[in-house]
Amino acid sequence: MKANTGKIIDVDLSRGAITIDELPEEYYTKYIGGSGLAAKIFWERGNFEAEPLSPEAMLIFMNGPFAGLKLSGVSRHSTAGRSPLTGGWGDSSCGGYFAPELRYAGYDGLVITGKSEKPSLLLIEDDKVKILDAAEYWGKGATDVNEALKERFGKAYRTLVIGPAGENLVKYSVILNEGHHATGRAGFGAIMGSKNLKAIVLKASKKTMTLADPEKAEALRKDLNPRIKEALASEVLHENGTAANLIGGMYAGDVPIRNWTSNFWEEAAEDLTGSTLTETYLTRRSSCAFCGIACKRVVEVKDGPWAVPEGPGPEYETIVSFGTLIGSIDLAATCKAGRVCNNLGIDTISAGGTIAWAMEAFEKGDLTLEDTGGIELKWGDMDTVINKVVPLIAAREGKLGELLAEGSAAAAKKIGKGADYTVHAKGLEAPMHDPRGGGHGLALTYAVGARGACHVADPMLFAEMGARYYPEIGFEYELEPMTDENKAEAAVTIIAIGGLENSSCFCQFADAEVTIPDWIELFNTVPGYGWDAEEMLRAGRRVFYLKRLINFRFGRTADDDTLTKRMLEPARDGEPEGIEINFEGMKARFYELTKMDPVKAIPVKEVLEEYGMGDEAGVVW
């Protein structure tokens, strides 16, 4: 096996023990890398009884097989474990610069258990791995600590850092690479915080990796890079960022407004779309390592209440979650909110979703001034959101901060009201794509996704837009977004592609240009897996299945493959107004096609055996 090093760093923070483990090659050829390989490691070594924030909990960082290759879109890594937000399987993909550096240092990943007695950081310099004291950084912002670490160790060192929210065990806290590339979803910042681990700092002395077939891999890389860069979607993303098509999404009914009570806000379409950000606050563009798309924004808001110095700008998810979702069309405020959330170490999607829920609860009288500590929660009141609510959440301060730090599903449960208008699957707040307008297939994949409502677990969102076409494997569906037609059928392939994407840690924006023959060529010339199309797709689907088995062992069943009432009620306005989603029909058909048990929500024993998962089947059947 090439590209992958086969080595992971195993850290037990309780004992201060560091070992280098070698993984069996079969783990890679069966589970690819990234979140798939992390799931396999968790399956084999994880403590299924351990609470996510207990010392026994396992936190996994894992590269994909292409990390280190100078190819657009592959410089991502996956973080995984049991999510403190949902209690189920969680994984989160992060771009930036950590993944290639880890590969060059000689490792495919890290597995961290235990709890350090005092605040600590992990320093990795090739084969030297040390646990250092980090008391001086504890309590400080993630962005600030990133800068301090760069000053101490050098600019070439790559960092993963948590903010105060992670230290305070906010259930949706993030881990940031280079101070702004976020491991955003599922609350892994809180796991780092629970282990007293403030940061991981990394530098490799050499920048090389091995390849199974260097000549062919290089030829493919040279072919793919310009194709990815010059694709229409890439040019649009480069020009106007991930919010480039917010305007189109608004007219389609894809953009959630005021806690998903509306699907159309004409003024917001123009005010918040990517080209407006370009024309107002953009100073330059930036990228993850080796990526020619460069969809990242660098912005400066020169004056006004939301003035921010030049620095990382908001992506689509932040623009909507701190925009229309909470009743605001103030683009400058989203720039500020993104910066504040980064430094505090909070996921903007879950934060926006939880605050939007709280605003509706306050409007309905389900949350009172007594519950909020005297804070009025009003749609679009960005001053209160940015200057009061978000800091209270990060600090778990006061009744409101303590309540909202748990996320919307737990908060509704705690007050015994408002569950009907939460917006999540399996406890993970939904991203800023409303399946009622964005596509009914998205409702299905939100519900059956292992970590909960997620638009990047698989490419269903893109498939329903018409941007996924794999004729070599018969995926030629012309999907109409606002129907259930062929959605379950498409999902069978889509989850396999999602397994490939998230296990190879390939960015969905970049891999849109990667054809099935390209994927096979990449796997065969970079790590040398020796696959054909069938074996490759089986690996992708196997990853999906394994995550379901893990969730089953956490007590999840078919009842958990669902969406909340608010998400399934017909839209009240906009393009999708009045249209029902045939959710149960799609779900039943998907279970049938994937031969999943209708109660346990895992594949039947025969399917698991067919996928080479006989040992796993023995545990669950």
Binding site: L232, E239, N240, A244, G248, A269, T273, G466, A467, Y469
Partner: protein, 138 residues
């Protein structure tokens, strides 16, 4: 061609469609924001089968053939797919993914027009009726 008798017929319809669009305040406002010279290239259906729309400098113009200036954006497709597109019966993203539409140049401005395709389709139906081509209305 499935819908057109000759290469001149679609161009006449499309130029007329844009001339109508220029008179619509909403569409003309949107087109001015695009601020590009666009060449709609259907030459796969005949050397003269193309037209241009000039949205630069706050003025709107259109005409048959290739523009004299170098276009900022070229969209190449068949005249039949163009008919489906102006009828709002062709998913542009899907068409681009399947290489039915090839784009050269920056299409970011056109994204702003995407929400207005429904309105364009209404004008297109009117145009086809005026040209006596009710038979190809989709």
């Amino acid at each position: 061609m499935e819908y057109w008798k000759d290469a001149n017929e679609p161009i006449e319809a499309f130029v007329k469609l844009f001339e109508k669009g220029f008179k619509d305040p909403d569409l003309s406002g949107g087109l001015k924001k695009v601020n590009q010279l666009i060449w709609f290239d259907y030459t796969q259906d005949g050397p003269d089968c193309s037209f241009w729309v000039d949205c630069r400098g706050g003025e709107l113009k259109t005409g048959p053939g290739k523009p004299d200036d170098e276009p900022n954006l070229t969209m190449s497709l068949s005249a039949d797919d163009a008919h489906r597109s102006w009828s709002n019966k062709l998913n542009p993203v899907m068409a681009i993914t399947r290489k039915k539409i090839r784009v050269k140049g920056s299409a970011t401005g056109l994204l702003k027009l995407a929400p207005k395709l429904k309105k364009v389709a209404v004008l297109y139906v009117e145009t086809l009726k005026e040209l006596g081509r009710d038979d190809i209305i989709l």
